[in-house]
């Protein structure tokens, strides 16, 4: 990812490409990493709606994997996860282990 020099910027620094921040991967910020345990997942999608980084993929109403390009490892999903019969479907683990 190369940053533009000042000569290449638009007047007023107008950004013409919507959603371009996707080029900036915030996943490297993580200190803790969530792990999804599929068998405990009831697909309630609370993790998806509460995720501040839009880092949980959902397809046809079913929860998919995390998008680790953007997940900052805050742990909100793990805390809010109701799980199945008391077993969480998301657990936080230290990054790099």
């Amino acid at each position: 990812m190369k940053q533009k020099g000042w000569k290449e910027l638009t007047p007023g620094a107008v950004v013409t490409e919507p959603g371009s921040s996707k080029q900036f991967k915030t996943g490297s910020w993580r200190a803790f990493k969530p792990r999804w345990i599929e068998e405990n997942c009831i697909h309630c999608l609370f993790c998806w709606v509460y995720c501040p980084d839009m880092a949980i993929t959902v397809k046809d109403g079913k929860r998919g994997e995390f998008n680790f390009d953007y997940c900052k490892g805050c742990g909100i999903c793990a805390l809010e996860c109701p799980g199945k019969k008391g077993n969480k479907a998301i657990v936080m683990e230290e990054e790099g282990n």
Binding site: Q3, A13, V49, Y50, D53, G61, I76
Partner: protein, 315 residues
Amino acid sequence: MATPLSLKELSKKEDRLTSGHRMCSGCGAPTVVKMVMLATDYPVIASNATGCLEVSTCIQQFTSWNIPWIHNAFENAAATLSGVETMYRSLKKQGKIDQEIKFIAFGGDGGTYDIGLQSLSGAMERGHDMIYVCYDNGAYMNTGIQRSSATPLGADTTTCPVGSANPGKVQERKDLTRIMAAHGIPYVAQASPSNWADLMKKVRKAHEIKGPKFLNIIAPCNRGWRSKTDDAITLSRIAVDTCYWPLFEIENGVTKITYKPKEKKPLVDFLKPQGRFKHLFAPENEWLLQKAQEVVDRNWDRLLREEEFTAPKSE
């Protein structure tokens, strides 16, 4: 047709605030914006006051917004958007545009309660057809946790630091929701991301009402609140359950509490997990802790009475 308010259906919509924004890990504000946008089925134009949300979603040449978005200055998000809305009405009249477009301004509590209050008041008074959303994290978090008029009583901030001479903020919060209601605008509401369906219903309702609307939404900030990164939603839920942040709406002068906790929890449940209130649990500050609870009780009691008082008479 409006998307049904089920997470399954909502998850099929495209993100209007995308990943790659640089809000802190565990911030409550992007979740608030995400929910407001999910509830909006119309094409939408947003403006933003200076603040965390603005600086970290629009860092030089990148934007996290998938919609037309404008930032002008700290104090004039409402004024800027009222100009855009006026232009839209003019273009519509001239027949140059036929789409139904909605307008939403976002501001933090600094840009809304303090710096932008004048322009917000003006835009509401002039009757522009827009929603102003304040995401309230209770201080100037972007510049390093300076107190704002939304900072709760007793909180430790960098401009009202706790020490031997000062027990934190000694003033009460400004009740902005009530100030906006006093403008006599058609719709004012308070919401919390923990109660997402309630929040989205309020956004939906606001879109269907013509004229100025105001939503005040709590947005926990783990950096400023000195809490953990994973508790934004949990803390906003406790804020609702302790009646620190009651969920209500005022529609054409009629107050309705949209969620009454089964059991009103003591305020300490909300204060305890937050480092900014740590000093309140020292014996010498017990009076302040008591006062904080009294303020919450008084406001909740007034809200209950207001609901009763403003209810339409059944004849």
